[in-house]
């Protein structure tokens, strides 16, 4: 599905991502972990086209996607959320979702004048789809509220709903559970597991280790820009390099 080959990216003297290669294969939910500053978010920006890579190649469904602009990569089926939630605060929750619908005829000017009924029909269908997504997220009663009025956790859910609206093949989530309460985290886990059952692939960055080991089928570990290990959750937990690089520091933090 997603294959990353020898990808590097530097910002001046800082090597943010250093010769990283891996293949997501058919894994349902893949996790990317690593200490802060290890290059995880940079890698996500490279995959989604928001950063240009210095070297290497990224293939998605056997097509090279590096060098393509972000909107083309998104249309190919890789849809992302952002680390800091980025809902559209002045648009209603419903509009936040509808806007993500793919191939909207009414986003072109001429059909607005020459095929208005077709545009309206598509809009109605998208509206129904958005409402059903809002319902599964438990946000339906907030559909007319400006997204900016939602709680932080609800905004995180709304962002995931927005991604789903885009008919993704691969969802890229940057810290989906950061800053949301345990009840919402359980809700989110259910949603992600349902997506896996619908064979939508998920690739996520997450710091919540119990959650990562519970949810992910495969885990990739980065440290200082390099991929240092990949394997199943139990392999990762027992690998001394990973413990040293990541879990070890977590333990230090817990002691402190």
């Amino acid at each position: 599905m997603l294959k990353i080959e020898n990808v590097s990216k530097s910002f001046g003297a800082l090597i943010a991502v250093n010769d990283v290669s891996f293949n997501l294969g058919d894994t349902g939910i893949s996790g990317l972990i690593g200490p802060n500053g290890s290059g995880k978010t940079t890698l996500f920006h490279l995959i989604t086209g928001f950063y240009k890579l210095d070297t290497g190649n990224i293939h998605f469904l056997d097509q090279r996607i590096n060098g393509l602009p972000p909107h083309i990569i998104s249309r190919k089926g890789i849809v992302r959320t952002f680390q800091q939630t980025r809902v559209l605060p002045f648009l209603s929750s419903l509009d936040n979702l509808i806007t993500a619908a793919p191939n909207q005829l009414g986003e072109n000017l001429l059909p607005l004048f020459f095929q208005p009924s077709k545009v309206a029909l598509q809009e109605t269908q998208n509206c129904e789809k958005a409402e059903s997504i809002l319902e599964t997220l438990g946000l339906l009663k907030l559909k007319d509220s400006p997204a900016g009025d939602l709680s932080y956790g609800q905004q995180k859910l709304l962002e995931i709903g927005r991604v789903l609206m885009a008919d993704p093949k691969l969802i890229i989530l940057d810290e989906p559970t950061a800053g949301i309460n345990p009840t919402l985290i359980r809700h989110l886990v259910t949603i992600l597991e349902n997506l896996r059952d619908q064979s939508i692939k998920i690739f996520l960055i997450e710091h919540n280790m119990p959650l990562v080991t519970e949810l992910c089928d495969k885990i990739f570990v980065m440290d200082s820009g390099s991929l240092i290990f990949s394997g199943t959750p139990s392999e990762v937990q027992n690998n001394s390099r990973v413990i040293e690089a990541y879990l070890g520091r977590m333990a230090d933090a817990a002691d402190a």
């Binding site: 989604t48 928001f50 602009p69 972000p70 909107h71 083309i72 998104s74 249309r75 849809v79 992302r80 952002f82 980025r86 559209l88 605060p89 002045f90 648009l91 209603s92 419903l94 509009d95 509808i98 806007t99 993500a100 793919p102 909207q104 005829l105 009414g106 986003e107 072109n108 000017l109 607005l112 004048f113 545009v119 309206a120 598509q122 809009e123 109605t124 509206c127 007319d144 400006p146 927005r162 885009a166």
Partner: protein
């Protein structure tokens, strides 16, 4: 009464101009500080073509087409710039166009301007033509209003607002943001050109001094005061501002002070703009947060 007709015509021309800016500034969040350039291109093109014997309807079409092309030419390089830099680039563009009007004397007659711009025979000239000209302007303003409402109450209009709120999100959701913004600028420029065309054939005399930053600030004020991102906002803003501008002409000022007070006119608009920004940034009419075109 004739004076009243005159003011209404000016209000309606400015309402077209303000609505065209609102598409860029209000809906898309593009701070175009050079919008007067397209008004000027429309006015000069239509004036020059009709003065050189081109039938007026063709001159009008030529003028708004050229304004649209100029919009695309401005959009393609400047849309790479973000926020403030886009504003500066458009400001410079308007100054360039102003200098072309001023210095290409062989074509534009430079500072002497273009007098005796013809009008269609069926409208005629002089005071007796005012009601008919008013009707034509009203028609154009109404068409503009309907056109822009159709364009913005749509998935396209929603994508404009998404770009305004967060361009990265728009890209992450598969929106070709440069193309969408370019279209907005082209449509905005065509309609600004239309306003300029009507202006030129109404006043029948244009000169480079009519197309300066001062006019951009005036139209900016119409949009911001009326309520950016709303449909009636810029229309309301244009009427309020033009009536206000006419009203201050009648403030009795002793003639010996006029030369000191007259330059204050520009300051008054700036002052209103600052007050609005502080006290009511959303304008007289505020934007509804609910969109859902299906409910329209």
């Amino acid at each position: 009464m004739d004076y009243f007709y005159h003011i209404l015509i000016i209000c309606l021309i400015y309402s077209i101009f303000a609505q065209s800016l609102n598409l860029e500034l209000g809906f898309t969040g593009l701070y175009n500080f050079g919008h007067i350039a397209f008004f000027g291109i429309g006015a000069y093109t239509s004036a020059l073509l009709s003065l050189n014997g081109v039938p007026i309807p063709l001159a009008v079409v030529g003028a708004i087409t050229l304004a649209g092309i100029a919009g695309a030419l401005l959009a393609i390089p400047t849309l790479r710039l973000s926020g403030d830099y886009f504003g500066i680039a458009t400001l410079v563009f308007a100054e360039m166009i102003h200098l072309i009007f001023l210095n290409e004397r062989d074509i534009t007659r430079g500072p002497m301007g273009l007098p005796n711009i013809p009008r269609p025979d069926w409208i005629g000239s002089g005071i007796s033509s005012l009601p008919l000209f008013l009707a034509v302007t009203f028609f154009a303003a109404t068409i503009t209003f309907i056109l822009l409402r159709r364009i913005t109450n749509s998935p396209y209009g929603r994508s404009l607002k998404v770009i305004r709120e967060d361009e990265f999100v728009a890209q992450a959701l598969g929106k070709n943001t440069s193309l969408i913004k370019t279209k907005a600028i082209v449509v905005g420029s065509v309609l600004a050109g239309l306003a300029g065309v009507i202006w030129a054939h109404y006043i029948t005399y244009i000169s480079p001094a009519d197309f300066t930053l001062q006019e951009t600030i005036l139209v900016l004020l119409c949009v911001v005061l009326g309520g950016k991102g709303t449909h009636p906002g810029p229309v309301v803003g244009a009427f309020v501002i033009i009536f206000f501008a006419e009203f201050i002409r009648f403030i009795p000022i002793p003639s010996e002070y006029v030369r000191f007070v007259a330059p204050l006119q520009g300051m008054v608009y700036g002052f209103i703009l600052v007050i609005m920004m502080l006290k009511r940034p959303q304008g007289l009419i505020s934007e509804s947060r609910k969109f859902a075109t299906t409910n329209a």
